[in-house]
C-alpha cells in the first residue's frame, strides 16, 4: 500500500484570536469558531506533521472569552473539536501568554478527559498555565515568545505522533514535557543501594546528581498578627499526632491519612487512656497510650482556661495522622479546619505534631 492511501492521523489545532489573525486584545472577546484548514502556527505544525499526520481543522477562541466564560467556551470548543473526529488535539503554543496558557491547558485536559482523545500543548515554563494544568495534560516546554514557534511546532508534531502511537512511555524529563506527578513502576537494572551510594559519591565530588524522590516545595506565608487579648481569646487544639477517641470512630488511616476527625471535648478535662488513644503509625505510641495529654495537652489547657490564663478552650479538637500524609491532603485539611475555626470565632490555634 502506498503512503498516500494510508489513513492519516487527524490533528485538530486549538489557537487564540491573535494567532488566527482575527485581532489582538480588541478581539479577545471572540467567541469559539472553527476552520477546516491549518492557520497561523498551524502552518508550521502542518509541515512538521507531514506526511503521516495532517491538520484537519483549527478551533479558535478569544483568550478573554475563554477566561471570562470558561464553561461556555470549553463546551463550544469541545463540540467544534469533536466534529473534526480528531486522533489527537494540539493546543498553542501559548509561550508566556497567561490567559492563552490557561485556555490551552484547559482545552487540552478537557479533550482527554471528556472526549477520550489524547492532547498536548506547549508553553513557557513560567506561564501560569503550567502550574494549573501540568498534572492534567501533556505540556511541552517552549520559549517565551512567538519567535520560538518553528521549534515548538516541531516538538509538538513529533510528540503528537508519539502520543497517538502510544509510545510516550518514559519519564517526563526524557520524553520532554512538564512532570505530571505520575509515578510509574519499573524494574531498574541497578539495585537501589548502589544507586544511592553513587548519588552520594557524586554529591561528595561536587558532581551533578538527580534525586529519585523529589521533595515537595512548600509555600510560606506572612505570620498572622498576634492575639491582642489572650484573656478573652478562644483557642483551639489541633494535632497531627493521631489522638482520637478509643476505637478510631472515623477510621482515620494510621499513615498516609486522607481525612481528619473532629471531636467534641466540651466538659472533658483530661484525655484518659480508657477513652482516647493514638492511632499514629509513625512513632512509638506507648507514651501516648498511657497519657494522650503528652500529644494533645488538653489537661493543662483546661486548667489554664479555669484559671483565666486565656478565655475559652474551643469545644472541639481536630486530629489526623501526619506520617506519609500527602502534602496536598495536609493542606486541604488545613483549609477545611481553618474555615471551620473562622466560622466558629476561634482566635488562635495550638497545633501539636509528632
Amino acid at each position: 500500500m502506498s503512503e498516500s492511501n494510508e489513513k492519516k492521523i487527524r490533528v485538530v489545532h486549538y489557537i487564540n484570536q491573535f494567532f488566527a489573525g482575527i485581532g489582538g486584545e480588541e478581539k479577545a472577546d471572540c467567541e469559539p469558531l472553527s476552520k477546516q484548514e491549518a492557520m497561523g502556527p498551524g502552518m508550521a505544525l502542518k509541515a512538521k506533521l507531514a506526511p503521516e499526520a495532517e491538520v484537519v481543522g483549527t478551533v479558535i477562541c478569544g483568550d478573554g472569552y475563554y477566561g471570562e466564560h470558561t464553561n461556555d467556551a470549553r463546551e463550544r470548543c469541545l463540540s467544534l473539536i469533536k466534529a473534526f473526529e480528531p486522533d489527537v488535539v494540539v493546543a498553542g503554543p501559548a509561550f508566556a501568554a497567561g490567559r492563552y496558557g490557561f485556555a490551552c491547558g484547559d482545552i487540552a485536559s478537557s479533550v482527554t478527559e471528556r472526549l477520550g482523545v489524547p492532547a498536548l500543548t506547549a508553553m513557557y515554563e513560567e506561564n501560569p498555565g503550567v502550574a494549573l494544568y501540568a498534572k492534567k495534560t501533556y505540556i511541552l516546554p517552549c520559549g517565551d515568545n512567538a519567535r520560538g514557534v518553528a521549534e515548538a511546532a516541531g516538538r509538538m508534531a513529533a510528540f503528537a505522533k508519539k502520543l497517538v502511537a502510544g509510545e510516550v512511555k518514559g519519564p517526563a524529563r526524557v520524553e520532554g514535557y512538564f512532570p505530571r506527578g505520575v509515578r510509574k513502576n519499573f524494574v531498574h537494572e541497578q539495585p537501589g543501594g548502589e544507586r544511592a551510594v553513587e548519588m552520594l559519591l557524586s554529591r561528595l565530588r561536587g558532581e551533578a546528581f538527580r534525586t529519585e524522590y523529589e521533595m515537595p516545595v512548600f509555600n510560606k506565608i506572612p505570620p498572622a498578627p498576634a492575639l491582642k487579648d489572650l484573656k478573652n481569646a478562644t483557642i483551639a487544639l489541633v494535632c497531627s499526632g493521631g489522638i482520637v477517641p478509643m476505637g478510631n470512630p472515623d477510621r482515620i488511616r494510621v499513615s498516609s491519612a486522607e481525612s481528619f476527625g473532629i471531636y467534641d471535648i466540651s466538659g472533658v478535662s483530661d484525655l484518659t487512656p480508657d477513652k482516647y488513644e493514638s492511632i499514629h503509625g509513625g512513632y512509638e505510641r506507648a507514651f501516648a497510650n498511657r497519657d494522650p495529654d503528652v500529644i494533645l495537652p488538653l489537661d493543662v489547657m483546661r486548667a489554664f482556661e479555669k484559671q483565666g490564663v486565656f478565655g475559652k478552650l474551643h469545644d472541639k479538637f481536630y486530629s489526623t495522622t501526619g506520617t506519609g500524609t500527602a502534602v496536598s491532603f495536609a493542606e486541604q485539611f488545613g483549609r477545611e479546619i481553618g474555615e471551620e475555626l473562622k466560622q466558629s470565632g476561634v482566635d488562635a490555634v495550638i497545633l501539636t505534631s509528632t
Binding site: 505570620p223 498572622a224 489541633v238 489547657m301 489554664f304 488545613g334 490555634v349 495550638i350 501539636t352 505534631s353
Partner: protein, 78 residues
C-alpha cells in the same frame, strides 16, 4: 496543615513539634520545640508531677507565642 489554617482563618497558629527544621520547611510561623517525637507535650520519664510541669511550661510558652507579634518564622525557645 498549620500554615493553611493560619492563612485561611487569618489567626495565629503555634506549632509544638520536635523536629524544628521540618517546621521551618513546612512554613510554621510560630514554633515551640517539643520534648520528644512520641511525647511532644510532656516528659513521662520524669514522673507524673514533673511531666505535668513540663507540659504547663510548654503550653504557657505557646500561649505567649500566640500573643507575640512576629515578622518572620520564629522559634520560641525556653
Amino acid at each position: 496543615m498549620g500554615r493553611e489554617i493560619e492563612r485561611v482563618a487569618g489567626i495565629p497558629v503555634v506549632q509544638i513539634a520536635t523536629i524544628i527544621p521540618i517546621m521551618l520547611t513546612v512554613g510554621a510561623n510560630r514554633i515551640v520545640p517539643g520534648i520528644a517525637i512520641p511525647h511532644p507535650t510532656g516528659d513521662p520519664d520524669l514522673g507524673p508531677e514533673r511531666d505535668r510541669a513540663v507540659r504547663e511550661e510548654l503550653v504557657m510558652r505557646s500561649l505567649g507565642a500566640l500573643a507575640t507579634d512576629v515578622a518572620e518564622q520564629t522559634v520560641f525557645e525556653k
